[in-house]
């Protein structure tokens, strides 16, 4: 029995919130995407299947609409808003990601809907939150990453900060929104009362600073960006290292917890003839303090890193991964998406799933599998991403009890 079986979710969200509803849908909820006539604005965003710009071909929509159904509804028309209030009366969750004030202007704010359905959990996802001096700021992925702190930390030190080329801000927010929805649901089944969850992407992306956002209030040194790593004060700490056929990510750090790994690695590097025993036997636990106090010159650290680079460059990514397994080194290869899809690890866990072609073709497309493996309630992929209003009749007539003539009238008036 799916965990959220028979729980109904009205998902009015667009590109700012799609992931939240998909998580609830993966948990078994009946998630109905409520799209404006012509389709969600998320459908206008790429990439597109076969590179054809078409709302039914948005791979962003395909990515985060699995297990949902779709209906269309025009909130700009009074009958549309009336219909939404009727739908909300029967729902357990409502998710929306319009700019702050939009729902209130349409008399669909939490207060309006809670008057009809006091047990509703109402989730709002925005860039900056529902209120505050910058609540009405215009947003975009890059803007939110800049605002919330992670952007300044990423990139090459001789160029501007750089983002991940796949937009992330609203995925962080959508996942936080799903946590909030589950917390509110947990409380609702005990109290019988719903509430409003207000999620702001600016806060969600701050998670990706690894608490670096606390540097100023803690009077600590700010971390700065470095190509393939980070700078902390005078120390250049690489994370990306060269392999014979590409790159690896390696933790090469110091201190009581991480220095032991560095010591282990340096013993191996030495045994393979890449350095002398004096280099091997440096105090890797206290090495950062030695460098910061000047007792070890920074030039010596540069020499050590060059030794390690020569070592990693000698092996292929696959050889280094095998070494990581065999020796317990903290290193993994930097994979392309193609390499990721061919991962033995993911294959052995039967991770990948396929979705049927949303365009009705015979193709099946690879998508990420369940976000965790539940032993008793495994996540199932029941439905491919829906077309625009694909379930209008099924939902409006079959489940909400509109008569055929009401449905016909609303469709003709462009409300549905």
């Amino acid at each position: 029995m799916p965990i959220l079986e028979s729980r109904r979710v009205l998902d009015l969200s667009n590109e700012r919130g799609l992931l939240c509803g998909q998580i609830l849908a993966d948990l078994g909820a009946d998630v109905i995407a409520v799209e404006p006539p012509g389709g969600s604005s998320a459908r206008r965003l790429g990439p597109f299947a076969q590179n054809i710009r078409d709302p039914e071909r948005s791979l962003l929509w395909w990515s985060y609409s699995r297990n949902k159904r779709s209906i269309t509804l025009d909130l700009e028309q009074t009958p549309g808003r009336d219909l939404l209030r009727r739908l909300a009366g029967t729902a357990d969750f409502l998710i929306e990601s319009f700019e702050p004030g939009f729902m209130a202007r349409h008399e669909l704010a939490y207060e309006h809907v809670a008057a009809i359905n006091p047990s509703l959990v109402y989730v709002s996802i925005t860039g900056f939150g529902q209120t505050g001096p910058k609540a009405h700021y215009a947003d975009a992925d890059l803007i939110l990453l800049a605002a919330g702190g992670p952007l300044i930390l990423g990139g090459d030190d001789d160029r501007p900060p750089v983002r991940l080329s796949v937009p992330q801000a609203y995925l962080h927010a959508g996942a936080d929104a799903a946590v909030a929805a589950m917390v509110a649901h947990h409380e609702r089944v005990r109290s019988g009362r719903g509430q409003h969850a207000d999620v702001a992407a600016i806060q969600s992306v701050a998670m990706a600073t690894q608490s670096g956002i606390l540097a100023a209030p803690l009077h600590a040194t700010e971390i700065r960006r470095l190509a393939g790593g980070l700078k902390l004060g005078p120390l250049n700490l690489p994370v990306i290292w060269p392999a014979k056929d590409g790159f690896i990510s390696m933790t090469f750090l110091f201190g009581s917890a991480l220095g032991v790994f560095t010591r282990k690695l340096m013993h191996y590097v030495c045994a393979q003839g890449f350095c002398d025993t004096a280099t091997r036997d440096k105090d890797w636990i206290g090495y950062a303090e030695l460098l910061l106090s000047g007792r070890e010159p920074l030039s010596e650290f540069e020499r050590v890193k060059e030794i390690v680079r020569t070592f990693t460059r000698t092996y292929t990514k696959a050889e280094l991964l095998a070494l990581a397994l065999e020796q317990g080194f903290l290193m993994t290869p930097v994979y392309t998406i193609g390499e990721l899809t061919r991962s033995e690890q993911l294959a052995s866990r039967e991770y990948w799933r396929t979705i049927d072609d949303p365009l009705g073709g015979s193709g099946k497309y690879t998508v990420p599998g369940p976000f965790v493996k539940f032993s008793a309630t495994p996540i199932e992929y029941r439905r491919r991403p829906p077309g625009i209003g694909e379930h209008n009749r099924e939902v409006y007539v079959g489940e909400f009890g509109l008569t055929e003539s009401e449905f016909f009238e609303l469709t003709r008036a462009g409300v549905i």
Binding site: I3, S63, G149, D176, L218, P333
Partner: protein, 405 residues
Amino acid sequence: MNHEGPLADVKICDFMWVMAGPASTRMLADYGAQIVRIESPTRIDTARTLQPHQDDRSGPDSSGLFSNCNAGKLGIAIDMRNPRAREVVVDLVRWADVVTESFSPKAMRKWELDYDALRMIRPDLIMLSTCLFGQTGPLRQIAGFGNMAAAISGFSNLAGWPDRSATGVFGAYTDYIAPRFTAIAILAALEHRRRTGEGQYIDQSQAESAIHFLTPAILEYSVNQREPQRAGNEDRDMAPHGIYPAAGDDQWVAIVCRNDSEWDCLCEAMGAAELRDDPRFATTQLRVANHADLDSIICRWTTGASAAQIEELLQARGVPAYQVQNSSEAWQDPQLKHREHFVPLEHHRLGHTTLEGPRAHLSRTSGKVRRAAPSLGQDNQYVLEKLLGYDQERISDLAVAGVFG
């Protein structure tokens, strides 16, 4: 500790450490879940050694990262190698609804604390194991951190400039994503148990959770047979879309135009109305194609100006813009202040300190930071006496036996 809030009835015996695991139970602690985290008295939690450290002085309580991940929890120190440690843990498992752990897959089995052993004690137990790559498969024993999962999951290669090798994502990227899915999985399993009485085991691979943030790239590969490439700050649907230099050391401003009208407003704000009629920039597609020319024009305008002022000027006209904020700037940001993102707190050793507050705002049962993260073993006495009902004699006896290190 005062346990109120929407999750006040949730009790978790938490073996998780470092970042990804503890960050998930921190979210639940904000909403009142009772969490007893078990630390080793001899092997320090790596998070305690990571920056930022208060006043740049590293010590076991000074890490802002540790404090962020563990606020609101109770902490006990137990030496799991001690033969009598197990009796305490077994009582904690009886007390708890949920057991969580984030070791590499063999540790819990070695201590006979794996799911099969623990469900004998508590048949409706919910247990969650989280690690980089999951409990099975050839990489299950790989030790390490989220930067490694980010590399092998395809994130690192997609951050950087097309003319250079990948710069990689900052830090342990999958550790920022996985905790949300961990918290969701715990709450979902509790809901299932409420409805059916059935517990279960949850196997989380942090990589597998995080890959959900790359789905559009995976579909591009699977549907269009195209290998996604890193693209600097370019966007296929928007231009301008970049980070531009402003006055000062490492000062930048992010500027984006999502449509033609925002482009018009930007031209006006730059005092360059003539650009609106420039055929190179007439449509989004043309602006994307000619973004190099566009970027150099915008750079000339932003260079030497204040990032905050550009942000204000452009946002007043509805153009997406923001200063690229470092910690000092975020700390002063009026919107983050309004959202109470930074929470002041007293710590029994650090004195006055600060951490990040709850990210979602719930209208009726808001989250809050209940207390600072525990020092090593801070709550041994409280947990054994108040939660497990041990008398003083038994506690002393365990101490003499070396259970607490």
